[in-house]
Symmetry: C2
Subunit: 678 residues, 2 copies
């Protein structure tokens, strides 16, 4: 059941926009992060990630040598943020967050993708060195988490809710799979399998095992991947076990912790999405990254197992995000408290969390939904998140990062209003909790694997990213070349080359923003092909079935700036509109439009002008349009009788949202007030 | 220098609106609070206030009896919120907040005012009983704070920053002065003086004393009152000392605490207004109640001492609040973090703090500014706060209270969004930290003392509240009778009766909301008087100087509903307007206007209709006007291309802001979007 994604190895990216990003990852981000993981970046918070592995590896060796003579140190209860005062005083102990290991795994995954795209001996050597280190830290029984290896192995698996062992395992497995697929080397994959086997010894339904599941999800989808790459059903079963146990009463986390969470029984486990069994979940709640990671695992399982009940839960959760909890930028997580989904339609612009990692997780979820059922909206969301909420997380030079991606920023408020301290007006270097930068690296590096999905007889073109792909279709090799200038032009040429012997389909997504109906799309394609082609459309895709020789189909999606409004129920954007062009959301910045952006009005017929511009060496399309600013009332009074003082015309300049805050600190707005013209 | 206020005893309130409120205080609030202070109100958080005094009194007796044999219990470091699990398990120790004593003092102050207005034997007996108890707890050296008496007297005056001894002293002194003025009984006043003397033994510039000052201000203004009622200059000096030491480097609070506050040197003492010397302060910052209490003490001192530098600081601070930090309701404190002033023009409606106590404190400050210089804006602010931000703090039945007075409420957000957990959609009964209810009781009970201020030859009529006042003017007795239907009608009759022998002035405030210029006001008054009267105007007051026989002046201030807008720099109200009628701010409630108030538009020519209405037995003027609601777009999509879908006409109904949330839980808005008509 369901569709496969076309492996990265079979997709060669040939895309001006994304190649630039990938090159940035290869030449800037990955080397920078290697230094950061080694605590060698001046001015950045030390990671201690490699340090922890080194300590664990030395201790491991020592344990093997001294068998039992080793006394573990005093157990630190949480391990959060235990930084030494200076690098000179680093001791032989664990530092950083309990999930610090995962940064190295994410880095390795990014390296794997980068090597597929661009072989690099130095990078290979670095990665192999890291893998050696990781394996040196692994215990004889397969256990692999430096926090517990260093602190006290007897305490492992005692705090699944907060201590992220299974989260680190998940990232290890994803890195192992990626590195194996990229290089054919299976050392890390085998380490992941051994850790999975170790987990199975301790967790599960059998007597003597703990019926636990991860506090921070990811292991679920990682285990599905481990199953798919190894064919070992036990990994599928473990993933399914984690999904099935989640939300059962009595709560495992209550059995594990003497003091239960909070007081409101129904809501206290929202944060971990463990409040009710996953098949009953219909509303996306709690920590947004955890949420979409869980839903991704659920969607994988639904596809692999064919279970309709699970598929239905996935559909409902996606629908809930799509219709009630999604920022126009593809960001999710309306509140920084718990980095979480807020209640339906609560999408504040200035206090948004919209974590970069959460948008990345949404792409994971959307791709998996697409594998479950080929419906346009999943690809639409994937594209939206990629060009906006994800890319905004990284500076155009790849050297600084956002965790939080607000839609409205007044720097003074970020500096002076504690409610907005989580919102940064400029990107930061490496953080102590550095989840977003390496997540970005692995996301961008694997962009090629999001372009297509396929079934036996159909190739789905989901993202219009320039590339060359080879695959087997109807028994023989087929090649597809996509030429695209996305996201700046809607014109796409797709050249399909087959051996002409059997019929199979290519399905092209009709982006919602194009405004094309299915009929329009069918008609546009029909004109370009001979009568033999069967052209149909459903769920936002045009299906072209034929025996392919070498044919080129040209799609010319209308891509023009437009005003977008949110649903009436979204309080925070009432009376306001945003500017979007194709998949790209735009914003107003102070540097282009002056201070006090709140006073700006967009005219309802803004007569947009689109021109090429440049931000920090990056070619972009910028947009100008007609706007107005309310004429200032020169008065010291805070309040006075209302009178319409009129408006002054003002030309507004919008730049892509993902490029904001690359030209210094200033105000920014995605949504601005609309002024209906008389 | 400056004006006196006319003592409450000389002003008999005869005002339908305020008498109802005062009767509520007398018959509901004061008896309810007496029960609450005794922990006898079911469903309300226990106060332990009387309990603490009783424990302290018993311990005091014991100490006297056993001289030295008594061993203090283990010192609890903060004393905050140490509640026993149930009333049955109350032990012989201190419970509640460190400032719990102040609740009884505020209650006594309210009783004093109530007795002036309405003698009541039962209430007198209750108050005398309370005073006996307080005095029984007082130490031989005058010390009087049950937290330290119960816990460890050796620790007193060691934590002026956080432990509120001087705050409790301040309320004791205010209660003592009020009870003395009301009843002539000086037992409590003397207790306050003895405590002040004790404080002087420990704090001050002399060797061996601590150069400290209060963490929570109020002692400053209380000492000025103690000076004015006793004539003892030492109390003035102590108050001045507290003012003078505040903000000096090195910070006393740093000397007192081993760990300094925060890191940003310049900002860390904003919370206590102790960041810089008071004479240099120009921006209202930090905890709003503390702020206005301090500024009140500064204004008192400026008036008494005639010091221009201090007066200038007071003017600047008032101006800063008035032009940058004041809600339209007279609320202050834009953020719940620190219950504090936010940065200039940051006045969020939905996360406002706008504590009831802060509005009360603003009335204190404004009245004192008025005594310093007779300018209309101080009285305007006093009136605004009283009819809106202060009264909103109490339910119409006097049985429940708001701490926080938001300008926009969506109950779902208050229940589900942690950022708004401080905002309650319905009033609560007694709180553990019960500062607001007794503060309301003393404010309303003393409303008569805010009507007038006077100098030797001028009586200022600041608030148009119906009353009869007697005073000496130009050597003989004069009577002024004010007939008013405020806040519902702008028509006021002022009957002045003198002996006709000497000339003196009555100055009438011209409310800003009336729209009258000084010229208009002079003209209106001139028509009613003979040629002998000298009629002038300055700073928003009309001065009528004559030898008064018995004359009545009728003022008929235009009082009609109008739309009000905030300054351009207030981001949160951009494009929105509020409705105000005279001094009363109005709001829209869900019960009258349906759900989703955010979708409502007010037309710029709303053609207001004003009619009498009734809310919970209270006669009010309600307002109807033309509005519109954006036609709903029936779509599941969160975002779609903008199109003006038109508006549906809707008649809107506004009720006075202070009456909101008296008819169940629902949405509320003060500001709504304006729709400029074409």
């Amino acid at each position: 059941m369901g569709a496969k994604n076309v492996f990265l190895k079979n997709v060669k990216i040939r895309d001006e926009f994304w190649e630039k990003e990938m090159e940035l990852i290869r030449t800037e981000v990955i080397p920078y992060q290697w230094e950061a993981l080694h605590d060698r970046v001046e001015g950045a918070a030390p990671s201690y990630c490699i340090h922890n592995f080194e300590v664990a590896a030395r201790r491991n060796r020592k344990i093997r040598e001294e068998k039992g003579a080793y006394q573990p140190p005093v157990y630190t209860t949480t391990g959060f943020c235990v930084w030494p005062e200076s690098l000179e005083r680093v001791e032989e102990r664990f530092y950083g967050f309990v999930f610090q290991d995962s940064d190295l795994y994410k880095w390795l995954e990014a390296v794997a993708y980068s090597l597929v795209w661009h072989p690099d001996e130095r990078l290979t050597a670095m990665a192999d060195e890291a893998i050696e280190l990781i394996c040196a830290a692994q215990q004889e029984d397969g256990y692999l988490d430096t926090f517990y290896i260093i602190n006290d192995l007897d305490q492992r698996f005692t705090d699944l809710r907060d201590h992220h062992e299974l989260y680190c395992f998940g990232h290890l497995a994803e890195a192992g799979v990626a590195y194996y697929r990229a290089t054919g080397k299976d050392k890390l994959l085998k380490a992941a399998c051994r850790f999975a086997d170790c987990i199975m010894e301790h967790l599960g339904a059998e007597p003597g095992k703990k019926p636990g599941y991860p506090g921070h999800e990811i292991a679920e989808m990682a285990l599905m991947e481990l199953y798919e790459v190894t064919g070992e059903k036990k990994y599928l079963d473990l993933g399914a076990y984690f999904l099935n146990e989640r939300g059962k009463r009595p709560y495992y986390f209550d059995r594990e912790h003497e003091v239960p969470l909070g007081e409101k029984d129904a809501e206290r486990y929202h944060y971990h999405q463990s409040h009710i069994p996953v098949r009953e979940q219909r509303e996306a709640v709690g920590h947004a990254v955890r949420g979409v990671y869980l839903y991704s695992g659920m969607a994988d399982y639904a596809r692999i197992s064919g279970e309709e009940e699970m598929a239905e839960a996935c559909r409902a959760l996606f629908e809930n995000i799509y219709t009630q909890k999604l920022y126009i930028t593809g960001g999710i997580g309306g509140t920084h408290l718990g980095e979480a989904f807020s209640f339906p339609y609560d999408l504040p612009n200035d206090t948004a969390y919209a974590e970069t990692c959460a948008s990345i997780g949404l792409v994971f979820f959307a791709r998996r939904m697409l594998q479950l059922e080929e419906k346009r909206q999943y690809a639409d969301v994937m594209e939206l998140a990629l060009y906006n909420g994800v890319l905004a997380g990284m500076a155009l030079d790849g050297k600084s990062f956002f965790y939080v991606n607000p839609l409205e920023v007044v720097p003074e408020a970020c500096h002076k209003d504690e409610r907005k301290f989580h919102v940064k007006p400029v990107r930061q270097k490496w953080f102590g909790c550095a989840c977003c930068p390496p997540n970005l690296a692995r996301m961008i590096g694997s962009i090629g694997s999001y372009v297509f999905t396929e079934t036996d007889d159909t190739l789905f073109l989901n993202l219009y990213i320039g590339c060359e792909a080879v695959m087997r279709k109807a028994g023989s090799e087929a090649t597809v070349v996509v030429e695209s200038k996305f996201p700046w032009s809607g014109k796409v040429n797709v050249c399909v080359e087959g051996d002409g012997k059997a019929k199979w389909s290519v399905a092209f997504r009709i982006p919602q923003w194009s405004g094309w109906t299915q009929e329009t799309a069918v008609e546009k394609v029909r004109r370009q092909l001979d009568r033999e082609a069967q052209i149909t459309a459903r769920d936002g895709y045009v299906y072209v079935k034929k025996s392919w020789g070498k044919e080129t189909i040209c799609l010319d999606f209308p891509m023009k700036a437009m005003l977008v409004q949110a649903n009436d129920r979204v309080r925070e954007t009432e009376g306001q509109v945003a500017v979007k062009r194709g998949p790209v959301v735009y914003c107003l910045e102070e540097i282009d439009n002056g201070k006090d952006l709140h006073r700006i009005r967009i005219l309802d017929h803004p007569e947009f002008q689109e021109t090429w511009g440049m931000i920090q060496g990056n070619k972009i399309i910028e947009i100008e349009g007609k706007g107005a600013v309310r004429t200032a009332l020169s008065t010291r009074e805070l309040y006075q009788e209302y009178r319409s003082n009129g408006y002054e015309q003002k030309t507004l300049r919008w730049v892509p949202y993902y490029t904001w805050a690359n030209r210094g600190e200033g105000e920014m707005r995605v949504f601005s007030r609309i002024l209906e013209e008389k």
